[in-house]
Symmetry: C2
């Protein structure tokens, strides 16, 4: 693999670029981005070697599509149109059902691998790209059987070199589960931030009283709206379902408090404490 | 100051003990705890020098009350009964109104300083005590004018040595603001954990799909129910108010999604992104 094309030179694409270059200094990293400023920044930072355009994709060995999921729906078919028979393309989006449907009947469907590396930070843009972002992270691959075996291998080799563990899932299950463990927590965090900001006009006071607990809970409210709006749009049904359940749980907790049933409040928390073991991977 | 008594040798009390001892190796740290096991553990870990009882408080130079806030209502008057005229006592509880009311007319009121060091982790017990927990953290002091000046000085000297910054507030304002920046985020986190656990019976799947974002948002759901239940009980009115606002914000977000108004969804997040600057302390 020599010519690697990264479409979207932000946190996700840029971090792939950095690790691929480190792993294999002989490959050339081409960057494609709708923002010329981002492209220049990525080049200056050494995240990419060269700027490129979709028309150049004919010479690509691998293409990584790391742009917001609405743009992926648009761009991925064009990418598949432009590549050679031996090019492997994968995306990194946080929704999988719509995108798999979109390219289901594309003549180059077997050149595409639907992937979702579960990694990131709350930052965005080329300057947020970091080495080692994918180490020990999970990469969820959907409809693996729809990708040509030899091309799968190329992508899996890269994921393995980057230290990722692979889980296979169908797109429907992916979108349903990820709504719970990722999409919902972004909304809970954004709305927590909103609630506090709305109330506390004197911001200095928030900052002074907020401890590390608040900071950690509200961290995801720093995330990029441009990335997250299309995710919520594409995964609307699942996300609304998680929101319903979350709101009901909050209402129930409030009701227990209003009723003065603090034994039940205690039990609610005690049962959920169990999340410790889950997060530790202990069963 | 020679004889320091720590009532409650867990995360908060134990971390005070460790830093005080480091700062002044000549002082003797006495531990008092309703759990004999915790006391033994604290002694074994070197968190305290000696085990003690409330009856020994007559020789105390400083007493730190670091127990759940319901227990503080009970224990603090007894502590004030037992100390000498020159002893400074402070608590560390996350609610301040009830406790200040409770000792308002105590003959030793001027020996007490109402404090809330905003520091902690999601862990508890003597083994969770750590050095440097209070460095660069905010300590909110309420009704400072009710504490004898010479005794205030002793406590403030300690806080300063431990690297804390001090903010003065009245107990009502403290309880109202802290409901937003601390109590609410614990509930949002617990209910997020509950929502995901309820849904995902196959826990291995949660763990595999959960990224660092989920982990950070749900971190506070590891907190101790024994500590948090009485906090919610004492700060019931304020906490219910924050919950109402939080639930309304979530419902509004859901409504926007149901209506397919993703421009408004984008704006909701964009406005809240501003939390970045607040958390960075930039205005």
């Amino acid at each position: 693999m020599k010519n690697i094309f990264i479409i979207g030179v932000g946190l996700i694409g840029g971090s792939f670029a950095l690790d691929i270059k480190k792993q294999n200094s002989e490959c050339i990293i081409y960057g494609i981005d709708k923002s010329e400023t981002h492209l220049d920044e990525a080049k200056q930072l050494g995240v990419i070697d060269k700027k490129a355009k979709l028309e150049d994709l004919g010479k690509a060995d691998m293409v990584i599509v790391a742009i917001p999921v609405d743009a992926t729906l648009n761009v991925l078919p064009k990418v598949l149109d432009a590549i050679s028979d031996n090019t492997i393309v994968f995306d990194t989006g946080s929704t999988k059902e719509d995108i798999c449907l979109k390219v289901k009947h594309h003549p180059k469907r077997r050149n595409y691998l639907a992937a979702h590396p579960i990694a990131g930070t709350e930052y965005s843009g080329p300057s947020s790209a970091i080495h080692g972002l994918y180490k020990n992270k999970t990469n969820i691959i959907c409809e693996v059987e729809e990708t040509a075996f030899k091309l799968q291998e190329k992508a899996l080799k890269l994921f393995s070199e980057l230290g990722m563990r692979i889980r296979y899932m169908n797109p429907k299950a992916h979108d349903k589960h990820i709504a719970y463990v990722s999409h919902l927590s972004h909304i809970s965090s954004f709305m927590l931030g909103k609630t506090v900001i709305d109330k506390e006009k004197n911001e200095r006071d928030i900052f002074d009283m907020a401890g590390s607990g608040f900071e950690s809970t509200v961290r995801l409210a720093k995330s990029s709206p441009a990335m997250w709006t299309p995710i919520f749009q594409q995964n609307k049904t699942n996300v609304i379902e998680t929101l319903d359940e979350y709101i009901n749980n909050l209402k129930h907790f409030k009701k227990l408090m209003e009723d003065g049933d603090f034994e039940a409040v205690f039990k609610e928390m005690e049962t959920t404490n169990h999340i410790k073991d889950i997060l530790n991977g202990i069963q």
